[in-house]
């Protein structure tokens, strides 16, 4: 595959703001490119100036391919697919990474189908094999195994990766170039047409950037018991997440689902309550600094990977634990002669770090 060189990243933007996942992927692409002495390309589509595009160089891009057009400010699958495919066909990168976001789940398969190349989904790691081939690591067999996927004969090698899988690189003073690409699109490409956007307030505390995550699984048993998680999260200044079975039961909204196709979190402290530890979920939390698991089944697989395991019914252990936390807080407040706060922000509240985004 001698003709194909360079690791490319599709840079997702929503309403003119570049999403972190693109920057995270630039960091990974930089690492892979350095190892093989090639370059990193960033594909940016939107209504952007060259100066804005230049910012991507500091995150690791050598070349930024900028498709700037006011009509590209909003994602249209046909237009985006067409332009991305054009750039790839012209420049021949060996790999193209796209965020596994709703937008990416729409764009990546279309691009792969048009280019007739292979595509892997929700990779948890990307590395190079001995022959320089890209090894794409995805959980397989219901998550009991990790599968190493390759795309042996087609280029570019394409993979989607969830936000949060790779760390966001620190911006550095680097050299690179912005290449303005011709945008040839017609009304026919601006499909589907976005006719309306209804802004909605988000009720749940953002899991992204939360330092403490309290996650409930099927073992929580009911929506009423879910309150325990909310209370614990409040006491610890954290956010509440859920496993897929808990979401399926309607105890929590899909937006807070943690796992391979949900959110990837890496808090300082993760507490899984009534969570058995199916791999689909574990891949979403395994980079947490401390993993605590509460489950009544002593053989739950989660106990194999946690730092502290509590064998017990979460619906009984949590009230006891919450009681003790409150007691401790009250003692601390008595000591300092202050009123017991209604809601303790906790040492790891997202606010204490400033901008949690």
């Amino acid at each position: 595959m001698g003709d194909y060189r360079g690791f490319w990243v599709f840079i997702e933007q929503l309403q003119g703001r570049v999403s972190d996942v693109g920057l995270e992927l630039l960091g990974k692409a930089r690492e892979l490119a350095d190892a093989t002495n090639t370059y990193v390309g960033a594909l940016l589509l939107g209504d952007f100036s060259k100066a804005k595009a230049k910012e991507l160089i500091s995150y690791g891009a050598d070349k930024v391919y900028l498709f700037s057009h006011e009509k590209l400010a909003t994602y249209h699958s046909l237009a985006y697919t067409k332009l991305v495919c054009q750039a790839v066909t012209q420049e021949k990168p060996e790999a193209l990474f796209i965020g596994a976001t709703p937008l990416g789940a729409n764009l990546a398969p279309r691009v792969a189908a048009q280019l007739e190349t292979g595509l892997s989904a929700h990779c948890v790691d990307l590395r190079l094999g001995e022959d320089g081939i890209l090894e794409q690591i995805v959980p397989g067999f219901g998550g009991t195994m990790m599968a190493v996927i390759i795309c042996p004969e087609k280029r570019p090698q394409m993979a989607t990766v969830m936000p949060g899988v790779f760390p966001k690189p620190e911006p550095q003073d680097r050299q690179g170039e912005v290449i303005s690409m011709a945008v040839e699109i017609t009304e026919k490409d601006l499909v589907p047409r976005v006719v309306e956007f209804k802004a909605k307030e988000q009720k749940t505390v953002a899991l992204d950037g939360a330092s403490v995550v309290v996650c409930g699984g099927y073992g929580m048993g009911s929506k009423e018991n879910w309150q325990l998680l909310e209370e614990l999260a409040r006491l610890l200044g954290g956010a509440v997440g859920a496993t897929r079975p808990a979401v399926d039961e309607g105890w929590a909204p899909e937006e807070v689902m943690i796992g391979q196709s949900g959110k990837i979190v890496h808090p300082k402290l993760y507490i899984g309550a009534g969570v058995s530890g199916i791999m689909h979920h574990v891949v979403g939390v395994q980079d947490s600094e401390i993993i605590v698991v509460i489950n009544k089944d002593p053989n739950a697989p989660f106990f194999q990977v946690c730092d502290f395991g509590v064998v017990g019914d979460a619906t009984q252990v949590l009230p006891a634990f919450i009681g003790k936390l409150k007691e401790r807080q009250k003692r601390a407040c008595d000591f300092l002669s202050i009123e017991t706060p209604q809601m303790n922000e906790g040492p790891y509240s997202p606010d204490s770090k400033g901008d949690s985004q």
Partner: protein, 264 residues
């Protein structure tokens, strides 16, 4: 207008693993219609009931057991099924799957107005087949919708989808592809008479050669991706484990968080 719903037979491991005598009971892994596909089937059937669709066709690629998934779709109210079944399909990746599904639609001579998918399958969880099918057919597509209004006479569909910070409303000309998720509708439980009726509804079967493919075009041989190897997930040294009365274990946990790792 004819509506096609794509159905996948998936292992029901995600929600049916229950505790039995304090152990995980895995004895009864059974296969079901992918839950996300149920929303798609339900939506298509409602279109028919609302006079917007004349026929609902459920299509699946998979082994013999995929017939059961199709029967579930037929019990909800789909009119007929198409099953692409062949040993040669084993090991197909999403590209091959999309290619085969597209060919089957062609073979059937279907003049469809809409193609409906579940946004993801709970086993493979790639989310990719709908986009690949849409691209191969050159159709517009929107995903993860929570509301759908179809105007067959006006030749368009309007779909609402959740995005970061709100809801987006998409308009597309027919035919088009949409993927469905929770919140779009509440799939019905099929009644016993409808389950019985579903057994009599026709399921057209195609083999790989019926679709004009050779064995090399599909399955592992035709896939563009390949599984190089399997590895066990990274093992971490198992940590401490405590057992006992709720009060005791809660105290141990508090102690651990406070004194050993000092996070509270």
């Amino acid at each position: 207008m004819k509506v096609v719903v794509f159905c996948k037979s998936v292992p029901d491991t995600e929600t049916r693993v229950r505790l039995k005598d304090n152990r995980l009971d895995k004895s009864e892994i059974k296969y079901i219609l992918n839950p996300y596909d149920e929303y798609a089937v339900e939506e298509a059937v409602r279109m028919k009931e609302g006079g917007k669709a004349e026929e609902v066709i459920a299509i699946s690629m998979g082994p013999e057991r995929a017939k059961e998934a199709l029967r579930s779709a037929l019990a909800i109210g789909a009119d007929r099924g198409i099953l692409i079944k062949d040993d040669a399909l084993d090991g197909s990746d999403t590209y091959v799957t999309a290619k085969v599904l597209v060919k089957a639609l062609e073979k059937d001579g279907l003049e469809y107005g809409m193609l409906l998918f579940g946004q993801q399958a709970i086993d493979g969880d790639t989310w990719h087949v709908p986009g690949q099918v849409a691209e191969m057919l050159g159709l517009p597509q929107t995903g993860s919708i929570i509301k759908l209004e179809v105007d067959p006479d006006g030749g368009k569909a309007v779909a609402n989808r959740m995005v970061e910070g709100g809801e987006e409303v998409h308009e597309m000309a027919l035919p088009c592809v949409v993927t469905c998720r929770k919140g779009l509708n509440e799939p019905r439980y099929p009644s016993l008479p409808n389950i019985m009726k579903a057994k009599k509804k026709p399921i057209q079967e195609y083999s790989v050669s019926d679709l004009g493919f050779s064995a090399e075009d599909v399955g592992k041989a035709g896939a563009l991706t390949e599984v190089l190897s399997y590895a066990l997930p990274p093992q971490k040294e198992a940590g401490k484990k405590v057992e006992g009365e709720p009060e005791e274990v809660a105290q141990a946990l508090l102690q651990y968080l406070k004194e050993e790792i000092k996070v509270i």
